[in-house]
Symmetry: C2
Subunit: 662 residues, 2 copies
């Protein structure tokens, strides 16, 4: 956190903030005079401290600029367009609290970027790239002065590559997107019940038997870590234990608390298998394994998971029961927690022995937990605050679960220092390092990974980087739209792949009716999907629920029209929705993938008819009769209910419209 800058920030600078497309919003921004032209002579010059990473970043900046503008860049010997000065080298292995600040001054003649540390140069380059835009005179950058640094030191994304395999290029794309919005931690969830995704040379059966041959070789891991470092991103591996570990047991059943054999899990949930915390062989195995992985992953932190152990295998194992009794962990409720605390403590010592700081999910937080750990909270700020009061560092993930299909605005509202952490003292607040979004992959394949992460991730990135006062939701959405297009130019596929998935659903028929429906539905939230249908890791994810965006942009826009009483535009939308079912029906009849969408499509037409009637009442200046309101309300009650795995996301604004006709 960067108190100094907050003090410096004038109201004028705050005012200027609404006039740009930067995301995350920089700490300080002052508009300048004039505009720097961007053309084929664009040239970056590095001064001060230099290293290969900065040269590569300059070339990447030039390439990205050329790609997004379509301008071939072939600079001559003229003055640099972007003059960069870097103060000194960064840490050999990127640290959690390194200086990422930078200063960027753009005039009509030149842009100058100054940063003490290469990390600041990388961040400033992304800001510069976001400033390039097109006007009536061509591409350029409007003059401005920016002084910027992050509010939180830890700004991450966790990616689960276990439940569904994500190949290397998908992970690289993810890192490209992360760098664009100044995130700096990639948390790689590499093992779970459904797959062990990294090669171990010491224990080849881990990936050999636990991955369906979908795993990262150590060479690929090193390649990925180097790719991340080039972008100023740390890579932290997670190996979940003692639960969520079935994939380990396929090759090494002796680690488990119950008898084998084990097979890779194809379903989701909290399962019984767990490591046996009572056997020394398990710790010897983990010692060797952690040692191997600690050498492979250079980051100072090492994640051991530690979440969701149901204790059933422990309860069913007589030897483990004896062990618990011998230690006095006999309480029916707490005994297994105490056993897990014992396990965590042993593992923490191993992690420390190999030179790392342990990270675990909330469950690892016990009163005796040493301070040299970090808690990642899926439970919330209260849990983090408890850790902080105990002197333990923490990061927030609660509120940032991208897989739960909530809106960008929802995520944007979650603040690591808000809610249950709001009343910490300054020293305790310093223990909350930041946050990490989580992309659990039960319902996500590489195909729609980008569409599930982006652009919503950018809103979280802003929450973690920008001053706490930056909370204008409408302006966030305005800029999110811009950053979304920029991300596609970087190679992310959240737009282009969405188009392909729509085409697949339409099955050769015109895609528009499918799009019209897809744009006003959302998948059910949280874990409701698994209550509707039994999914496994082998279920095709190729239906409307997999295609539709987590958040309906059209519903959001329509809600704005209702607020603004823009009758004409509302009518155009409602007519389109009313007529869509008739257009979609013949397409549905020929595409098995669309068959389940008939009901929600019909419902869209019905609520659109209700909306059109409401418009008629409003336009004629009549009050809608109570009896009509009553019938429409019943209709909307029905429309509000999930249709299978889908929600009709225009129901709430249409409800408001009908209320307005009263």
């Amino acid at each position: 956190m960067t108190k100094a800058l907050f003090v410096l920030m004038t109201p004028l600078a705050m005012l200027a903030m609404t006039d740009h497309n930067l995301m995350p919003v920089p700490a300080q921004l002052q508009a300048g005079q004039g505009r720097l032209r961007i053309d084929g002579n664009f040239r970056v010059e590095l001064t001060g401290y230099r290293e290969a990473r900065l040269e590569a970043a300059a070339a990447r900046l030039t390439g990205n600029l050329s790609r997004s503008t379509g301008i071939p860049i072939h600079p001559g010997a003229s003055a640099a367009t972007l003059l960069i000065h870097c103060g000194h080298a960064s840490a050999v292995v990127q640290k959690a609290r390194e200086d990422e600040s930078y200063r960027l001054v753009v005039t009509a003649q030149q842009a100058r970027l100054d940063a003490p540390n290469p990390l600041g140069v990388l961040r400033g380059m992304e800001t510069f790239l976001q400033m390039v835009d097109l006007d009536a005179a061509g591409f350029g950058v409007t003059a401005a002065e920016i002084a910027d640094q992050p509010r939180f030191a830890w700004r991450g994304l966790m990616l689960d590559v276990s439940r569904h395999w994500m190949p290397l290029d998908a992970v690289k794309r993810t890192l490209d997107g992360m760098a664009a919005v100044k995130l700096n931690v990639f948390h790689w969830h590499l093992s779970d019940n459904q797959g062990f995704r990294v090669e171990s040379l010491r224990f080849p059966k881990l990936a050999g038997m636990g991955s369906d041959d979908h795993y990262f070789t150590q060479q690929q891991v090193r390649e990925l870590i180097a790719y991340a470092r080039e972008r100023g991103i740390r890579v932290i591996p997670e190996f979940d234990m003692p639960g969520h570990a079935t994939a380990w047991f396929v090759g090494y059943p002796e680690l488990a608390s119950g008898p084998g054999p084990y097979a890779i899990d194809r379903e989701w949930g909290v399962f019984d298998p767990a490591m046996d915390p009572t056997r020394e062989e398990v710790y010897r195995f983990l010692d060797t394994f952690i040692g191997e992985m600690a050498a492979l992953f250079p980051d100072a932190y090492f994640h051991i998971g530690g979440d969701e152990v149901n204790g059933k295998q422990w309860d069913a194992n007589a030897r483990i029961q004896k062990f618990k009794q011998a230690h006095g962990w006999t309480d029916k409720e707490k005994g297994n927690q105490e056993l897990q605390a014992y396990f965590t403590e042993r593992v923490q010592k191993l992690v420390e022995k190999h030179g790392k700081t342990m990270i675990g999910w909330d469950e690892v937080l016990t009163p005796d937990l040493p301070r040299n750990v970090l808690v990642q909270s899926w439970r919330g700020q209260k849990s983090l605050a408890a850790a902080a009061r105990q002197g333990v560092d923490g990061i927030l993930s609660h509120g940032y679960y991208l897989d739960l299909m909530y809106s960008a605005a929802d995520h944007y509202a979650a603040d690591p220092l808000g809610d249950g952490a709001a009343d910490l003292n300054e020293e305790q607040r310093q223990r909350i390092l930041g946050g990490e979004a989580c992309m659990w992959s039960e319902y996500v394949t590489a195909e729609m990974l980008d569409a599930r992460v982006w652009p919503r991730m950018a809103a979280i990135a802003e929450r973690l980087w920008s001053p706490q006062q930056v909370t204008d939701v409408a302006d966030m959405y305005r800029r999110l739209d811009v950053v979304s297009r920029e991300l596609e130019w970087l190679g992310l596929t959240h737009v282009s792949q969405y188009e392909k998935m729509l085409e697949r659903l339409a099955n050769g028929a015109p895609v528009e009716p499918v799009r019209t429906l897809a744009e006003v539905v959302e998948g059910v939230k949280e874990y409701a999907r698994e209550e509707v249908l039994k999914y496994t890791s082998l279920s095709p994810l190729n239906r409307l629920v997999d295609t539709a965006r987590p958040e309906s942009e059209v519903a959001r826009h329509f809600a704005v029209l209702v607020e603004a009483r823009d009758l004409e535009k509302m009518r155009a939308w409602l007519l389109r929705w009313r007529d869509n079912d008739a257009r979609l029906a013949p397409i549905e009849a020929k595409s098995e993938l669309l068959a389940e969408d008939a009901e929600i499509s019909r419902e869209l037409s019905l609520v659109a008819v209700a909306g059109l009637q409401a418009l008629d009442y409003i336009q004629s200046g009549q009050h809608a009769p109570a009896e009509w309101i009553e019938r429409q309300t019943a209709l909307l009650e029905q429309a509000r209910k999930p249709k299978g795995v889908l929600l009709l996301s225009v129901e709430p604004p249409i409800r408001k419209l009908i209320e307005a006709a009263r």
Copy 2:
């Protein structure tokens, strides 16, 4: 050519042909009974002759199937879905006339693919993949029996990577698309005035000074050749000489006929520099160079270009003039042609010495040309026929120049054995091996490469593979639409990149008005673009003319509506066009990239108004007054003229509509 199959083909088989989405159309197809289901258990089994290439192709087929359907494939031990039998190995280096035939029988229980040669297996796999479709019951393949083989042995695409650099991944994507439509020759135009694009270890200054550092390393060349071989595609390099060779002279001015120094050309056209055919050092250089490249590129053919020498440097060089006089080549018109023939003959001997058959463009065809060469004709079938009568092999490129922006139907109509080659005897016909499309890259960067090649290339691929009687243009377009979507699933970007380019033009504003205009314009044809504006290789290609498709699909559809007198649908289009200019104008005002489109946008609105009036006359049963017809005709005359580099492609059908109102 495969006469035997033509005889076997019954009218019934011909009838069945219109009921599938295959492209190219197979030689023989019979519909069967039932449907083979495609699900997560999909499994390919290889029997008979096996090799790593076939294993890789089976894995690729499975991966492509999984990607396009969205079905995760995880087969158990059940019977193979696709059972393949291959007879024997293919040639170590793929030959020009290898057996590519296959037989594919699909029943409701299983698909069986038989081919004597792995090449046939590769072709049959592509057919199988094209047969997978979706119906109300899910994904599957409708039962059928196919016996297939190509009409022509040589089915290629030439890609110019010199005028604009095309990086390795763009070339690989191109090969993916080629394999999908059964093309088998990739002709790599690696050197020209604007760049020398391959590493030479013997002459490092060729790429070192002649490429702006945009060249393929030998390692990349080997990788690309292996990638092509995996897909049954031969790779033939072209090093254009003695003209089109400025890029050689940057590093090695001593090869040229005029004094240096030379710089990489940034403009297009036929320039003066040419190699000096009179100096033995030049042939020694070429001997070494061709030797090095002949070893790098295993194909039996080697292309030496030979086109477009204007002779000016020769005329200006006293020593060369003397050399010509000494040889008696003194005719003002023919002297330089004789000199070039001498050069070609010398180079042909070098090519032959290094074990290759020389290819050259039409210009190399002289009465004394040895028979062990192949002529690639940009001039037409007459030129090919002349070669064939002389006993020289040939391939057709005239009619297949994708850069000239003609329609798929135009290319589809060009037949290597049509026009000037129609009256050859059977032996001469055998000398015409097939054809090659050409993608010259004056106005093409990697960004829109796919959109310029695809899907039109698929129509040419069909011309070269399918029986000569397959000429139904409407059915070609129907299938082209399907194959276009399939190509996107393979990773081609002709659709997704088009969308991004529209977004760039729209500059953050709604993209629809830009799309509406883009869909009804085409770039000017042939070489008219260079008459409008001076382009260089450094000009940005990011405007409407670069974004618009070579062929307006909407204009084609509208022409069908005019034919069918579908007044209602015509009215919907015309209203949209009439109103588009008002929607586009504010976007144009904020985007320098769109500024030049104001005139054609206004014209679209004007002709749409005329069309709407014509509809009114037709609907009211009135004849339009002659005076009105006259005014509209004048308007259309104006609209027919190019607006800068753009053509209004709906002008012809709207003209027909106005004629219909008479």
